[in-house]
């Protein structure tokens, strides 16, 4: 019983970070129809920016966080303008390959600059966990969960409550019509990609201190992010958030009660099952007909 409760608490903590990873990707996927293979690299970049800010510049932990996120934002904007804009109108495979190329270059770049040795980011939270009955949770991870939920809320508000968000949703529905209605689609795309990248960098900056920072950290994160996005339905921010928690639950229970060797398989098996049952994801909105 205690073990089960601990698994559920772990699920909440892990799910928050998965959700954060997923929503950045789902935005770009849904609105721009770009399979963003730099998502993992941007996650890594966010973590290294956090490391630079805290360890090298000696910045305060809470001050370094927005710096890293801002860095991710600028990185994303640059990638969009330099690499995606020239390929607008090409099919999805071409832009995907461009993103793969950029991802390879970015990842090797971090390896070249920082070397392969993992870096740790010190955090201001106490080492001793919060103990409630049989369950323990680290303070840092509680903070990460809170920050992730706050960022998800912020992204949600931006999409649903602002003019920019309205334009983004319009572009998601139909880019051509949105352009006719006077939406500057080019700028929307840049904003979307920058925002998605900032969320990826935020995930990296938040998880860097929880885990360690190394050049290949984005690889597995990226695969999981894709899984979450599909689980939640393309372009569906709420769906991605829920998808993150479902994946976390499947992994926790899979590892706890089935076999830890198949922990990562759980998530993928769920995806196959879900897509066979409902080929557009669990929370997909109805697609237009015709």
């Amino acid at each position: 019983m205690d073990q089960l409760i601990q698994h559920l608490v772990n699920t909440a903590i892990l799910g928050g970070t998965y959700a954060l990873l997923g929503i950045g990707l789902t935005l770009i996927f849904g609105i721009m129809n770009v399979v963003n293979f730099t998502h993992g690299a941007l996650y890594t970049v966010g973590a290294y920016l956090m490391y630079l800010a805290v360890a090298a510049l000696g910045l305060n932990f809470f001050l370094a966080l927005p710096v890293a996120i801002l860095g991710g934002l600028l990185f994303g904007a640059a990638i969009e303008i330099l690499l995606l804009r020239p390929f607008r109108g090409q099919d999805i495979d071409t832009t995907m390959l461009v993103m793969i190329g950029a991802g390879i270059a970015l990842q090797s770049g971090t390896l070249w600059i920082f070397g392969g040795v993992a870096k740790a980011i010190p955090s201001p939270f106490p080492e001793a966990p919060l103990q409630i009955g049989p369950v323990s949770v680290s303070w840092l991870r509680l903070f990460v969960l809170g920050a992730a939920l706050a960022l998800i809320g912020l992204a949600y508000a931006l999409i649903n409550r602002t003019k920019l968000g309205l334009a983004m949703r319009a572009a998601f529905q139909d880019a051509d019509t949105a352009a006719l209605m006077g939406v500057n689609v080019r700028r929307i795309y840049t904003a979307t990609f920058a925002m998605g990248s900032a969320l990826a960098a935020a995930a990296g900056a938040l998880l860097g201190p929880v885990y360690v920072v190394y050049p290949q950290m984005g690889g597995l994160a990226e695969l999981k992010a894709f899984a979450i996005v599909i689980l939640g339905g393309l372009g569906n921010v709420t769906g991605a958030a829920i998808g993150g928690f479902i994946l976390a639950l499947a992994e926790e229970l899979g590892a706890g009660y089935v076999s830890s060797g198949y922990r990562d398989a759980m998530g993928f098996l769920i995806i196959i099952a879900v897509l066979l049952y409902k080929p557009t994801g669990l929370f997909a909105k109805a697609e237009r007909i015709g």
Partner: protein, 344 residues
């Protein structure tokens, strides 16, 4: 012209080892490139001709490698409930055949799936499939030895009754084996694309509703394409296992699928020569870069070369060069390379 080009390339590849002289290192690079190119050829059948992007293509390759290796090494597995399977080693050539069949069977599964889920969803289903297969290979230690790797895989032996057997141990023999299998796969793709079946694939890719309305059975066509594609990838995996003589769950690495996709798209998807040209370039690029720069820089250049090619020739090298030769601007929509359909 377009019919002479493949023949000229084949002649060049046949003659290449003579020109290279005794350079086993380059020959080795060519063999590995050749095996990956067969993978790219098979991927092109799905991605280029039906428009379905399988990012789990390595699953078929890996299944082929494992089936072939286990067939020729033998194994003993406890299935539970008192059932045991004991398999004595069979010749590697049989393994090659079984690998092709097993991978094809998995392709059938994925082909059925592809009728239900398309586009990005299909991409993720295939990635998931490949990951699950990798994790099974990793964790079913009794059968696959898991991460401990299958070692001592025998070389392929070709035998003809009455004439005797011939074991392919040397580089040169393996090179010609890979070249022969590759040429065969290329011919299969060319024949298919030029046939009624190939027209059905193209119809489905370009305008599915219209294709259905002229009586094309989408499920059957996509399934057959997936089966043939997977079988070829399985054959490539088998060649890989018997050439390298060791495999571990790393053969399922996602990056290998990415390499194959790069070869297909950069070379020109939906063309017959694209995967071959892309395969040669991106298979040999790392070899060329190795002596020139630091390891990390090699990868950066690899990524940048990919971006530049797509920038200059968005539809890939083969269609891009064809446009240059014809001296006319690139058209936005992809045009199929003149295939043997048109005039025989």
């Amino acid at each position: 012209m377009s019919r002479l080009l493949p023949l000229a390339l084949l002649a060049a590849l046949v003659a290449l080892p003579l020109a290279l002289g005794p350079s086993p290192y380059l020959l080795n690079a060519l063999i590995v490139t050749g095996i990956l190119t067969i993978g790219a050829l098979s991927l092109n059948l799905l991605l280029g001709f039906t428009g379905q992007l399988s990012l789990g293509h390595i699953a078929f390759f890996g299944i082929g490698a494992y089936v072939s290796a286990l067939t020729s090494l033998g194994f003993e597995v406890d299935l539970g409930f008192g059932y045991r399977i004991v398999h004595e080693p069979w010749p590697a050539a049989v393994g090659f055949g079984l690998a092709t069949l097993a991978a094809g069977a998995c392709g059938w599964l994925i082909g059925r799936l592809s009728f239900r889920v398309r586009g990005a969803y299909f991409v993720i289903v295939t990635i998931s499939f490949a990951e699950v297969v990798r994790l099974v290979a990793l964790n079913w230690v009794e059968l696959t030895q898991g991460p401990l790797a299958l070692t001592g895989i025998p070389a392929i032996t070709l035998g003809l009754p009455g004439i005797g057997t011939w074991t392919l141990r040397t580089k040169l023999q393996n090179y010609y084996l890979v070249l022969a299998v590759g040429t065969l796969c290329w011919l299969v793709v060319a024949r298919l694309v030029g046939s009624r079946f190939g027209r059905a694939m193209r119809g489905l890719k370009e305008n599915e509703s219209l294709a259905l309305s002229v009586g094309i059975n989408a499920t059957r066509t996509l399934t057959v394409a997936a089966v043939i594609s997977a079988a070829m990838a399985g054959a490539a995996g088998s060649l890989y296992a018997h050439y390298l003589r060791i495999i571990d769950p790393d053969v399922f690495a996602f990056t290998t699928t990415v390499s194959m996709v790069i070869m297909v798209v950069a070379g020109g998807k939906g063309t017959l020569m694209g995967p071959v040209v892309g395969g040669l370039i991106f298979g040999l690029l790392p070899v060329a870069l190795r002596p020139v720069m630091a390891p990390e820089a090699q990868w950066i250049v690899y990524g940048l070369v990919l971006i530049v090619i797509l920038f200059v020739m968005p539809r890939g090298i083969v269609p891009g060069l064809a446009d240059l030769v014809r001296r006319r601007p690139a058209r936005p929509a992809p045009v199929l390379e003149p295939s043997p359909v048109v005039q025989r």
